[in-house]
Symmetry: none
Subunit: 145 residues, 4 copies
């Protein structure tokens, strides 16, 4: 049973094990949410993002985070080659010089989920990359506020 | 207001934008949940697991990825305020205009893990942020090639 | 008179007032050029970039640098609105938190020269922007190495 | 090798990529120069004016915009080496893949004016960089709104 008010807000009740409900409230507070509903709404949206990316043809946006030592031979040339081969899905790359050796690169990407995943795999597997991770979000189009 | 029955189950109500509530129901069905409460309970548990990860005093580098609608009142001002309060750990922010409404922001961060985690929580919980994620990597110092 | 060798390099002589030639050599050295020809080649390309941007329909790339105090009311909302209205020519924006008040934003842009100039004018004129500058470069297509 | 005649005119030869030499001649004609030497002399003088600007010990913020072909051997490695040698003044670098060959890089910098100027000179003079420019703004501290 749910009720919908004039502003397009739906109100409904859910049942949770008591201890889980308590931990939810504590976590929402620790994470600075104004109230429990906002915390739950964020979890639902996060789950929707993950759920939607299973469908390979869907357009997603996201970040590829890479950590590497730019002194390792050819690593940077290799990464740039891969990135240029896919310049239509890589919007821009933010390069941070962590210290004399270590670089962190953040690639802002947008495109079909399958394509993005393949590029991320290729970059992370490149020789010289110490650590890499693909973070998927939505383009926002199908994700209600 | 919440009620607790004899079996340790708590029942409370939450408010969601109507469209989000509809998508929740559709997803819960696609994922074969018997009901909406069970789906939400699983999301809360998954979030708790992440939240309870230990974040120590170690220095980390990483990315905070945010998705939001810049037309939502005050969201951008709120995000910038939080970022400026912590400008010593936020190296730079890459802002991508996905479409007329949706923005994706990539924050390159570096600092104590606990501090980074708290900032990420605060940004993701900010009203108007549709989706956000903290991606942790290393500063590279203690990570051999 | 000029000669062209097999590798597509042209060699020709130019006449300069003696003092200017000396100052050229000194400047080339101070700017770390390997030789005088490389310094002159860079000046020619820089001049070509400026020469080509006169033609409004030509596609250019470039940077818009903005300095502002994000606490000034509405400045950030105004800037984001302008940027989203033109999201097809603004590739991405790099936001740097200089201190508690001051922000520097670097917009990577690409599009018709007239359009880019109009957007830059609009952003720089926005209330609250302390300083702004458009730096034009080429998309590289018509600029030989 | 250069020769100097009685009127204080120096004559020397320079080598340019053939296509660049052709574009120089076309531009010199479009700009109504009587000959190629006069066009080059004007470029040198303009560059000297910029080069001789005083850059003191004052802290500035700014942007270095670079255009290069990442396929040119060693250019990217050279640029990254220079950047890492100065990672304390280079806040972050935004890399945009313009097409299969051309890259645009925006470096957000902050530091003593003389230091920034020297780094910009070094990057722009690096072999393979087609075009580069330093755009100076303020850190905002001494610049009233």
């Amino acid at each position: 049973m749910r009720t919908k008010d004039s502003k397009g807000v739906t109100r409904f009740s859910i049942s949770l094990p008591a201890e889980l409900a308590e931990q939810l409230d504590r976590m929402a507070q620790e994470k600075s949410y104004a109230n429990r509903s906002l915390a739950v709404a964020d979890m639902i949206r996060a789950q929707l993002v993950e759920h939607q990316q299973q469908f390979g043809d869907k357009e997603i946006a996201g970040t590829i985070t890479l950590l590497y030592d730019h002194h390792k031979q050819h690593v940077q040339a290799a990464l740039t080659d891969i990135q240029h081969d896919h310049h239509e899905v890589i919007i821009a790359t933010l390069h941070v010089h962590l210290d004399h050796h270590n670089c962190m690169e953040l690639l802002a990407v947008r495109g079909k989920a399958t394509v993005i995943k393949r590029i991320a795999d290729e970059l992370i597997a490149a020789k010289g990359v110490k650590h890499g991770k693909l973070t998927v979000t939505s383009t926002g189009k199908d994700l209600p506020s």
